[in-house]
Amino acid sequence: MKLELKKFGKILNSRPAGREAWLAAKAYLLPLKNNKEKIEVDFSGVLVLSPSWADEFLTPLKKNYSQQVVFLAADNPTVKATLEIIARQYHPS
């Protein structure tokens, strides 16, 4: 399945908004735990993504669905910088 983040907004930058998005995605969008379908996270159309929002959405997504989650390539510099920062959390050096 493709998870289009722009459907949560073009500016994704606060913790409460990220948490709310995660709860909504869990309830209505994401597959059940025993369904091993791939989840492609699509950042196109997002203008601003920051670590606060990502910590509340992408971190639990990775934690709950680990190998199923694929982040699609993105051009936006805030998306790239945020993914770089939060990746250190998943793979601390």
Binding site: P16, S50, A54
Partner: protein, 191 residues
Amino acid sequence: MTNKKYKIFHDGLDWAIKKPPKRLNPAIFCPSRDIFQARLDHLLNILPRQLKNKNLAFLLIAVIGEIGNNSFDHNLGNWRDINGIYFNFDLASRLIALADRGQGVLATIKKVRPKVSNDAAALKIAFTEIISGRYPEQRGNGLKFVSKIIQENNFKLRFFSGKASILINAKGLKIKKEIKKIPGTLAIIKF
């Protein structure tokens, strides 16, 4: 920072330290996160024209959003007197200023690092280590992100809390002890 060009910084400083605080014009005061978000959305509409580079505008909005939202995240239910933040910008001078009358960085860091005893050390930890004052929540990336964006895009940030400040620019990070105490936080961004 004494000339007229830095008026928004001095207004923020004044509001951050005076007791009782000066009443702010509603156009530059965000009593809630929703109002801050709405003003940030507005700034995103006008910044790309000013910068003539939409990617730089997106990065700047991300930095401002992290700093402003941090004030709400760490002071919710715990503001010293006024709930909310000062948020002002001067596009002609290419300056953004934010301030809060919250607990400050040292008080937040002390929750997870009780041995940290001064403002300078607390600022260094906040901007360089992945650590959250809201332990055990998995967070604490925001100010490292701010530092990275500032350094890589030729912006400049001076962030004050307590009796210390941190200057971040393309050359890196520099911590300084300050004479005036800012109990909460004050940030000035030059872009």
